[in-house]
C-alpha cells in the first residue's frame, strides 16, 4: 500500500486533519470531511475558525474509535454517490496507511458503537 500512497499527489490543501479526544490524528480528503455539514461550515466560513487556516479540527468529545468510524462513513458516503475515489486513511499514530476502493454497499455499524456514534453524527450533522 505504501507504493500506492506514494503515487498519490497529496496536496496539503486538499487534505484535512481530524484529531480525536485522545489526540489521534486522521488525515483525510477535504472532500470526504465535508460530508459533515459541521466540518464544512468550519472549513469554509471565512476567518471565523482557526480550522480554516490550518486544515485541522480537534474534537475533544469524540473518541478515536468513533472518529475512525466516522471517517469510514465519509468515504462510504462518497462512493455511495458513485464518486471515483481513492481512499487514504492515514492513521498517524501507528503509522499505518490503508487504501481501499470502497465497493461495499452496506455500511457496517458495530452494535456497541451505535449510541456513541449517533451522538457524534448528531454533532457533526452527518
Amino acid at each position: 500500500m505504501e507504493s500506492d500512497s506514494g503515487k498519490l499527489k497529496m496536496k496539503k490543501e486538499d487534505m484535512v486533519k481530524l484529531i480525536s479526544a485522545e489526540g489521534f490524528e486522521f488525515v483525510i480528503d477535504k472532500k470526504a470531511a465535508m460530508v459533515s455539514q459541521t466540518i464544512r461550515n468550519m472549513l469554509t466560513s471565512p476567518g471565523s475558525f482557526a480550522e480554516t487556516e490550518h486544515g485541522e479540527v480537534t474534537f475533544p468529545e469524540i473518541s478515536t474509535t468513533i472518529l475512525e468510524k466516522i471517517c469510514q462513513y465519509f468515504y462510504w458516503s462518497l462512493q455511495y454517490a458513485s464518486f471515483y475515489i481513492e481512499v487514504i486513511l492515514v492513521h498517524i499514530y501507528i503509522g499505518h496507511c490503508s487504501a481501499h476502493s470502497g465497493k461495499e454497499t452496506e455500511f457496517h455499524i458495530e452494535p456497541e458503537l451505535t449510541l456513541e456514534l449517533m451522538m457524534a453524527a448528531n454533532y457533526l450533522h452527518t
Binding site: A81, P111, T114, T126
Partner: protein, 578 residues
Amino acid sequence: MGGACSRKRDQQDDDDNLQRGFSGRYCKSGSSKWLATSFSRSLIDVKQGLGKCPSLMELCIYKVCDEIHKYSTFSMLPRDISQLIFDELVYRQVLDDVILEAFRDCALEDLNLGEYPGLGDNWMDIIASQGSSLLSVDFSGSDITDSGLSRLKDCKNLQALNFNYCDRISDNGLEHISGLLNLTNLSFRRNNTITAQGMSALSGLVNLVKLDLERCPKIHGGLVHLKGLTKLESLNVNCCNCITDADMKPLQGLVNLKGLQISSSKVTDYGATFLRALRKLELLNMEGCPVTAACLESLSALSALLYLNLSRCNLTDDGCDKFSNLQKLKVLNLGFNEISDAILVHLRGLLNLESLNLDSCRIRDVGMVNLAGLHRLKCLELSDTEVGDVGLRYLSGLRNLESLNLSFTAVTDVGLKKLAGLSCLKSLNLDNRQITDAGLAALTSLTALTHLDLFGARITDSGTNYLKCFKNLRSLEICGGGLTDAGVKNIKDLKTLTLLNLSQNHHLTDKSLEAVSGLTQLVSLNVSNCRITSAGLQHLKSLKNLKSLSLESCKVTANDIKKLQASDLPNLVNFRPE
C-alpha cells in the same frame, strides 16, 4: 441530517376537512391505516431515488431499531436523537409497552401515536414522564380513558392534543386538561359522550387557535364556553347535528376566526346572522344546513371570504343576487340546490373564482354565458345538469380550466369540439351515453390530461386509437360495453396509467390482460363482467404495484387471485371476488 430531524406538529390542515365524505385518516379500522402508511413509504422510497445516501444518523437509527430489545433506556441520549428513534419505531409499527419503557424520562417532544395498536392507559405513565418537554400528543383511536388523560396534567407545555375517536373519554376527562394553558390545538372528533357541561373545561384555554369537534353529537350548548377564546382561528363542528342557531350566538365575539365549519348542523338563516361580525372569516362550510339564499344577506358582510360551501342546502334562485358581494371568493360550492342558471348572472363578477360546483342544479345553456369571463376558473363541476353543446361554447375561453365534469349532462360529440383549446385540462369526466368515438377524436389536443372518465360513453375499438395522444394519463375508465381485445391493445402504451377500469366490456378475454401486462404502474385494475378466466391471471404477474384488482363475474375465483397474490402480487390488498 436535514429532513430526518424535521417534525410536523400540525398534522392536518384545513383542506383535509373540506373534502366531502370521510378522510380515512382517523378511521378506527387499523387495517386501512396501515395500508395508507405502506403506500406513503413506497412513495417516499420512489421520491428519494436510489442515489440518495442515508446519513450516518439514519444508519445508526435503523441499527438501534433493528436491535431495539438490547436497549433498556435512552434517557442518556439528547432528546432529538431519542425522538428520532421513537419516530422510527412508530413508523415501523413495532412499539409496544415493553419497548416504550426505554423512553421513560427522555424529554420527547412529539408523540404521534394516532391509531397505534395496543395504546391504552398503561402507556400513559411513560408518556407523562416526558413532562414539560412534551409539546404534542396524538392518541386518536385508542382506548385511553379519563384517568389516562389525567396523567397529562403536569405536561404544562403541551401545545397540541389530539384524541379523536377515543370512546372512553368523557366530560370528566376534559376537566383534567383544563389547566393545560399552552394548548393551541385541540381535537376530539367523534366523541359520543362529551356534553356542554364538559366543554366548560375549555373556557380557560385562552391560547387555543384550532379546535376540532367534528361529529360530537352532544355538544349543543357547549360553544358558549368558547366565548373568551378570542385567539381561536379555526373551529370545526362539522356533522354535529345537535348544533343549532343558539350555538352560533356565542361565536360572534370570536373575531379572529378564519375558518368555521358547521356542515350538517341545524343552523338556519337566523343562526347565520350571528356570523356577520366574523370579518376575518376566509372559510365557511355550511354544507347540508337548512339555510336558504336569505342567509346571503348575512354572509355578504364577510368580505374576506375565500371559500364558501353551501351545497345540499335549501337555496333557491330568490336571494342569490347577494353572491355578487363576495368579490374575493375563490371556491364556491352550490351543488345539490334547487337553483337554476338564472343565478349565474350574479356570479359573473366573481373574477377570483377558481372552483365552482353546480352539481345537480338546474343549469341550462342559456345562463352559461355568464361563466365565460371567469378566466381564473380551474375547476368546474356541471355533473347532472342540463348543460348541452351550446353551453360548452362559453367554456372555450377558460384556458386555465384543469378539471371539468360533464357527466350525465346533455353534451354530445358536437359540443366537445369547443373544448379542444383547453390545453391545461388535466381531468375530464365524460361519463355520458351520448359521447362516442367521434367525440374523443375532437379531444386529441388535450395532451395534459391525466384523468379521463368515459365510463358510460359508447367508445369502440376504433375510438381507442385516439387514446394514444394522452401520454400522461394516470386514470382511465371505459365501461360502455363496446370494447374488444383489439381496442385494449391501443391502451398498452399508456405506461403512466395507475388506474384502469375496463369493466362491463363483455367481449374482453384473457388477451386483454396480456395487453395490459406491461402497464407496471397500475395500482388499480377492474375488468369485471368480462370473459376473463383464471388462465389469464398469469399475465398480471408483472403488475407489482397492484393494490386493487376486481374481476367480478368472470371465470375467476377468489382462490385463484389469492394464489396470484401470494406468489407475485405482494402489494395486493383489495380484490374481488373475495
